[in-house]
Symmetry: C2
Subunit: 242 residues, 2 copies
DNA sequence: CGGCCTTTTGAAAGGATTCAACAATGGTGG
DNA sequence: CCACCATTGTTGAATCCTTTCAAAAGGCCG
């Protein structure tokens, strides 16, 4: 009895110190529920470039991202790729309609996840309805941001896409809390290109032009500083007065 | 008591004769649960072009589409529009994160819906967990088809987009069950253009070219027949050998 | 330090857009 | 019931922007 209490406490503490919890599916849970979720979860690590889920294959696992960035992508038969989004700590991964992954998820850099059996998680829904509530909420959120991205792909100009990307990920990819905020991109130009629906060369040229104009500063290919936030936001929203 | 039974039976029959039920959120429910759902639902009609939900406004209603087609769209400040999708009988509409509509939903042609108070529906989740299960399932489905559409917008060529559109909606928009299947488009060229991320002129030119090649037949601007399904599917998937 | 991969830059080509005009459609009222 | 009008759809020509292909520069790891 005494032993079990200590054990529970230990598990709880593990979640308590989890930096992703505030944003994650578990944010809605109290201590006791957290312990139940812990029973079915364990930590797992992925190396840079590792495949977490492969499009078309079946998987019985679902994941909470604890640390690192994940790239979601889909391929056309001839190799054309779209990056539909990126996942960061707190994001959930792995819901399917029929057990078959609808998308490929790969680690960018080192990734730490909290892995669970999908069946076991679904089993907990009966006991902890909050869990399914929260998951529906998160899925609706993904759906909405997906629509934002459709607007970007269907109607925004190159500059608008780039500005939207930089602003959207600025806080997420910030190196430290100090100003000026350096955006540390974990992903390659090719990932940004496939995310914004253009080519790498176009990305490169656009960033060069923005740097030329003094809108941004390119410390290195993957370290960018936004110099003029106001104008950058105007560009992102298509309100640029040029 | 006797009266109440008859009343319940009448309500159940209303659902029983609903053509949308098989695909809708209510597909998972048994007779008794259907009656409970009926308690909070009522039929409503929208005229062509009528706004069902407006982006940015708040709404306490959610809807099941019973008949007709609905256009989901989003605007940029300067009027650029993206149509993120179309809803057909059985589809659900109205989930939000904070009560504010993330998207505009408008009737294309006459639309019949089954309207509910969001709060009341959420209230039923406790009593009928299947309902929330099904709603999560439908939302995941929307998320996945949204990613398909991102691939289309980001990477597919004009012809591929058009072919994908025609094939995807062929069964949905078919005039009768007979062959050859005539696709009766409820939406205007502008809607298709904003859905495929191109201009109306481009849509018009692409359809004309496809008709020229014998891929399709244009009976009238809104009535199309696919003549070569095999090639059309190849084009849609980017496997065209040309 | 060398080699490989990523990123950048350049020049030419291609495809969708833009702007303009015309044709067709379908709903309305005389 | 038909003619008219406003809306919707089509066609043409020039322009613009991104892509494509090619090559050089830069960065990173062994």
């Amino acid at each position: 009895m005494r032993q079990e209490q200590e054990f529970d406490a230990a598990i709880t503490i593990r979640c308590m110190s989890c930096g992703a919890r505030a944003r994650a599916v578990c944010s809605a849970l109290d201590c006791q529920e957290l312990v139940r979720l812990n029973d079915i979860a364990h930590t797992k690590y992925f190396k840079p470039g590792a495949c977490i889920l492969a499009e078309g294959e079946s998987s019985s696992s679902v994941f909470n991202i604890i640390n690192g960035s994940v790239r979601l992508s889909r391929l056309l038969s001839d190799g054309r790729r779209v990056v539909t989004g990126f996942l960061f700590p707190g994001d959930f991964l792995g819901l399917t309609l029929d057990g078959t992954n609808s998308i490929t998820a790969e680690a960018i850099g080192d990734v730490e996840v909290c892995r669970m059996e999908r069946k076991k998680l679904e089993g907990l829904f009966v006991e902890i309805p909050k869990l399914e509530h929260r998951l529906l909420e998160m899925t609706v959120g993904e759906l909405i941001s997906g629509r934002d991205h459709m607007m970007l792909l269907a109607r925004k100009t190159l500059r608008e896409r780039m500005a939207t990307f930089l602003i959207t990920f600025e806080n997420q990819l910030r190196e430290s809390d100090e100003e000026p905020a350096v955006i540390k991109l974990p992903m390659a130009r090719a990932d940004i290109a496939d995310y914004l629906g253009v080519t790498v060369e176009t990305i490169s040229r656009c960033l060069a032009a923005m740097a030329e104009e003094g809108l941004i500063q390119l410390l290195s290919p993957r370290r960018i500083v936004i110099l003029d936030h106001v104008q950058m936001e105007e560009i992102a929203e298509g309100e640029d007065l040029d």
